[in-house]
């Protein structure tokens, strides 16, 4: 809880205080602004995101995914800016909707894995002992699973396959990394005296976790979720590329790239798969740039200024 400073404290002092001890969010923001590449990346991400979400409201998705036998595999033209695929579907429209779908699912998976991973990690690390032992065995087990194969097998098995089941299946096998990270940090944190001090003045375990442990891990959480977001875009498009992600009537960046599994499309119709591939590449790179800048900010020793 932040209380407004009382009036009798002069404003000047508050400014001085702000200059001395910026909150972790301010530090993160400042580092991004200072790092020109990260700033450009962030602006790019914001523009792309805003563009695809806004235009996809206007675009008629039905019409874009409708097969048009008179416009098969057309090269880019005024009518179809990026040409059409083997079903005569407009690539540019698919690219916009596909980017939106890919971003949405990557974001959902990142949030869900974040919530699960952080909860398990913080409980495991903070309480330690048997609870920790149990959760870490579970994490170890999930880590040895061959991720791609298990996910593909699950996708093949699920009876009513949809975007939601895809999200859940991905989440089920991706929460371990952040859980491990948060667990190790919480384990360090709980050994510190201020946690014990909090207990001696009557703060409950839940209070300590929410008021002390999690806020102090906030920058690590933001960094790892940002990097996870990039990785999840890659995983979604990878799975869709292999044919085990989005169904074809719901375009994603991965489904567009997957047209390239046809040798002819790969060789002579790059307008179908190259834009999506480049977009995946640039998006992942940009998000990673932001993530790395945040990482530097979170680690005071590497801060640039």
């Amino acid at each position: 809880m932040i209380h407004p400073p009382p009036n009798d404290i002069p404003l000047l002092q508050n400014e001085a205080f702000a200059a001395r001890s910026p909150s972790s969010l301010t530090i993160l923001w400042r580092e991004i602004v200072r790092d020109k590449i990260a700033l450009v990346s962030l602006v790019f991400i914001v523009i792309v995101t805003a563009f695809v979400y806004i235009t996809s409201l206007v675009l008629d998705q039905e019409q874009i995914v409708r097969v048009d036998l008179f416009a098969l595999n057309k090269a880019p033209s005024a009518e179809h800016w990026l040409g059409t695929d083997y079903g005569g579907r407009d690539i540019f429209g698919q690219l916009i909707i596909g980017t939106r779908n890919s971003l949405t699912i990557a974001f959902l998976v990142t949030m869900l894995t974040g919530i699960i991973g952080i909860s398990i990690g913080v409980i495991s690390g903070y309480f330690g002992g048997m609870i920790d032992n149990f959760f870490m065995r579970v994490v170890d087990f999930f880590l040895i699973l061959p991720f791609l194969m298990i996910v593909i097998a699950f996708i093949a098995v699920v009876p009513k396959y949809s975007i939601y089941s895809f999200t859940l299946i991905m989440t089920a096998f991706l929460w371990m990394g952040i859980a491990r990270l948060i667990r190790s940090k919480a384990l360090q944190e709980r050994e510190l005296d201020y946690i014990k001090a909090s207990r001696t003045v009557g703060t409950s375990h839940a209070g300590i976790i929410f008021k002390h442990v999690l806020p102090n891990l906030s920058s690590i959480i933001i960094v790892s979720m940002t990097l996870n977001l990039a990785a999840n875009i890659g995983l979604e498009s990878g799975l869709s590329f292999l044919g085990f992600g989005f169904p074809e009537d719901t375009p994603s960046l991965g489904t567009l790239v997957s047209y390239a599994r046809n040798a002819q499309t790969l060789e002579s119709r790059p307008w179908i798969w190259l834009p999506a591939s480049s977009l995946i590449l640039v998006l992942m790179l940009s998000i990673n740039n932001v993530g790395q800048a945040l990482k530097r900010a979170a680690d005071a020793r590497q801060r640039r200024g």
Binding site: K196, S198, V201, H212, P215
Partner: protein
């Protein structure tokens, strides 16, 4: 009746036992100690590191669960609460920690740190809370306009004062001070210690003062207990212990205190040699087969020592 009464306190730790490992012998951090603290008094707990003094303090406040024994505080039996993992902290017991750097959350403002106990036990309006925190800070000698600063903007001594402000926020009757000054510079140590004495009078506090430094203990404490490997070797008032030590361990501790007078040094060196010799010759009078102390024997008044055949030597 005493404010705090400890009877046969035991805290044993069981090593992490996995699925495949054999049952290990428990580590007996505290192995049957008893003492009581009167209101307004300071009780000193002395011992080398690993002697169990910190564990004792933590068991009393509830940071470590008890294995057995009884704790009665302020007429209330805390034993059952302390024995279970689920611990309700008593607002009448406060704690001051050794390390002024790690005992304050670096990302919290002084206001939030000092107000934490108030927020848990007293629901004050933001305005009243602010006033209360400012008053507490004034009490520990920190200027009231520091409330929006962060811990790293203070010196070690100041940080320890902030920790004290937090500990006294709920007006506790007992404060457990775990090596409160050993992380501070010598010059600051005296300051903080005297300040602790001042607020003791002001608030009628009792201290359980844990330290390895006999000089500080002598300066601060009314009653003293000396611990060695989880057990008491000697217990008594400050006078009794310092003028008439009975146990060889106490004697050795006392003889290790440096002296200021050069003329005294020669004498002290001879004393030390004599004690070393006694340690060699009559070791078994003081320690059993496992090198642990015997049960305490009454010497005189409040004075007890764990030596065989004592009671006037």
């Amino acid at each position: 009746m005493a404010l705090l009464d400890i009877k046969d306190l035991k805290v044993h730790f069981y090593g992490r036992s996995g699925l495949l490992s054999r049952k290990k012998k428990p580590f007996k951090a505290v192995d049957g100690i008893s003492f009581c603290i009167e209101e307004g008094q300071t009780y000193g707990l002395v011992g080398e590191s690993g002697s169990g003094k910190t564990t004792t303090g933590r068991a009393i406040i509830g940071l470590n669960p008890l294995t057995s024994g009884n704790i009665t505080f302020n007429g209330r039996d805390l034993t059952m609460e302390r024995r279970r993992g689920k611990i309700t902290f008593d607002r009448n017991i406060g704690m001051i920690f050794q390390d002024p750097y790690s005992s304050l959350n670096p990302k919290k403002r002084v206001l939030d740190i000092v107000a934490e106990p108030l927020r848990n036990f007293e629901r004050l309006s933001p305005k009243k809370e602010l006033a209360k925190v400012q008053q507490l800070l004034a009490q520990v000698g920190i200027s009231a306009d520091s409330i929006y600063k962060y811990p790293h903007e203070f010196s070690g001594g100041q940080r320890q004062r902030i920790g004290i402000a937090r500990a006294i926020a709920l007006k506790p009757k007992l404060i457990i001070a775990d090596e409160p000054v050993s992380a501070l510079d010598l010059s600051v140590q005296a300051q903080v210690l005297n300040f602790m004495k001042d607020i003791q009078k002001e608030l009628n506090l009792s201290y359980l003062f844990i330290s390895h430094d006999l000089g500080i203990i002598k300066h601060m404490c009314d009653q003293i207990g000396i611990m060695y490997r989880g057990r008491y070797v000697e217990q008594g008032s400050s006078d009794e212990l310092f003028s008439n030590p009975q146990h060889i361990y106490t004697k050795r501790l006392l003889s290790a205190i440096p002296v200021k007078e050069p003329a005294e040094r020669e004498k002290r060196a001879r004393e030390r040699e004599a004690i070393a010799e006694e340690f060699q010759t009559s070791y078994h009078r003081y320690f059993d087969q496992e090198g642990l102390a015997y049960p305490l024997q009454h010497i005189a008044g409040t004075h007890y020592a764990a030596a065989q055949g004592t009671g006037g030597r």
